[in-house]
Assembly symmetry: C2
Homo-oligomer: 116 residues x 2
């Protein structure tokens, strides 16, 4: 079913495997029967998350700014920009002073693949 | 490789199978070896595109507004909102007076699956 999601619809939960001020809210996932997960992420100011990507993960920055450091260097995404993170890479995601909100899409489902 | 994309990086081409003022620019696709396509879409004012979805398609609205009508009704996404369109549904995508820009993610690759 075609669906529309706003950040205000999201029920954020702390991302597993970390104690930072980083939260995720799946809007579509394995429970919906499709192959992809869609959701929103919320990062407090100056938070850091390091992981080996268990899935392909695309983030669209909706507010604030995020930097992602991988084996080939660092990229920073501002509002309206897209960060692509392929499965298998070791990345460190870092928010800046203003925090960040993202929309994300993963394939396959990150909750089934594990997060680290 | 982790990558960051901005709309200003995009080389838009007219979406296949239609003569409307609707353009797409893949930033990551089958040529990159991963399973998902990532790109940007651009819609002129009051454009309409009807198709049966050959892939799962997620759009994040970056500017303007888009309405999508499917079998179960219509949703409208504004800036920062996400529209999820599952494979196999018949949809009509319509832009409004101000046009629209989107970021999209598809699984599998839409250029391999065909667009209608």
């Amino acid at each position: 079913m075609v669906q529309k999601f706003a950040v205000s619809d999201a029920s954020f939960e702390r991302s597993p495997g970390q104690d930072e001020d980083i939260f995720a809210a799946n809007m579509v996932d394995q429970k919906n029967g499709g192959p992809i997960t869609v959701g929103f992420g919320r990062y407090g100011p100056n938070q850091t998350l390091s992981e080996v990507l268990a899935v392909n993960d695309v983030m669209v920055v909706l507010s604030g700014k995020l930097s992602v450091t991988g084996p080939s260097g660092m990229v920073t995404g501002a509002v309206g920009e897209v960060i692509y993170m392929p499965k298998g890479e070791q990345v460190t995601i870092r928010s800046h002073e203003e925090g960040a909100v993202t929309a994300y899409v993963t394939y396959p489902h990150w909750q089934e693949a594990g997060t680290d």
